[in-house]
Amino acid sequence: MAILDILKLPDPRLKQVSTPVEHFDAALRDFVADLEETRQDGPAAVGIAAPQVGRFERIVIVDCSSRPKTPNHGNLVLVNPEIVHWEGYEMGREGCLSVPDYTGNVIRATQIRLRAQDPEGAVHEYEMEGYEARAVQHEIDHLDGMLFVDRVVSRRTDLYQRKTYAKKKKSKPAA
């Protein structure tokens, strides 16, 4: 096990498109262990993608299980992940291990259906929503050489109204 170096912008390798994984062997599983250790070493990252550590293969890890009140599928190692269905959109704030000290608002699908292989090569399908779906979309972008800074809509106020926080009654002010 080892903590790997994270590539940071403006490193041009982050713009590279990663290739599909073909061999589901011990070397893959060793790399996944290192990738997970690297994710946990960073500042509260819920996801990491192989190209962020300079390995240009379609592997990402997403784990939203440590966040309260967040629907999630636990610790997921997603190999050759593919989003097969999108629904809705929502603005949310993102940051990235490869872009330290910068956050911005990005629009992502609210619900996705995802197909991916596990490190043994078995195919799984997941229905995801909200925060976890956002994390997966962010990580899959890395596999396509896309960074969230290329998608930032605004650094400032989220323009779209999201789920309103438990307001008892919507009292319209008298016009």
Binding site: G92, G95, R156, T164, Y165
Partner: protein
């Protein structure tokens, strides 16, 4: 050592202000840091952090021709600035209501009483002059839960001000 200065430039808006100002600063070897450049009510406003080893007088001399030509007022403060000092907002407060005196003070007083730290506030007046609508978006940092802030602002609802408080969920990946 490199010092930071906070430059404020304000003048009637017209195209080309940013390029002229930044080119002049570049000419005396200034590095630009965080900046806010906005059009406000027909004026263009620039506030920016500039790192330089030059004295303030050198900056003034470099900017004087541009400021004169474009009609910009210039103000310079030496600040103890540093990059990478971002405090991340975790709560967003949206306010709208009929434009009336005191709306900002009412909302921000209630927030301040909860220890809310405003990091950014932008506001606009929409509608028409007969019935203007004041819209304000605040981002800030709160140690207290969103529910608590909602409660603190609840009184404003009855006074015709609509307030929406939402958590800002940062996703790092």
């Amino acid at each position: 050592m490199s010092d930071w200065m906070m430059l404020t430039l304000v003048g009637a808006d017209r195209p080309g202000i940013v390029s002229r100002v930044t080119r002049a600063l570049c000419g005396v070897g200034c590095n630009l840091g965080e900046a806010s450049m906005l059009r406000l009510g027909g004026n263009f406003t620039i506030m920016m952090m500039v790192a330089t080893e030059q004295p303030e007088s050198a900056l003034r001399a470099a900017l004087a021709p541009v400021a004169d030509e474009l009609g910009l007022r210039l103000h310079i403060d030496t600040v103890n600035g540093e990059l990478h000092q971002h405090l991340l907002p975790n709560v967003q407060v949206r306010v709208s209501g009929a434009d009336r005196t005191g709306i900002v003070a009412d909302v921000t007083e209630a927030l301040a009483a909860e220890g809310f730290h405003i990091l950014e506030l932008e506001s606009d007046v929409a509608g028409d002059s007969a019935s203007p609508l004041y819209i304000m978006n605040i981002q800030g940092h709160s140690e207290r839960p969103v529910e608590r802030l909602v409660e603190a602002l609840a009184g404003l609802d009855a006074r015709g001000v609509s307030v929406d408080v939402a958590a800002i969920d940062l996703m790092i990946g």
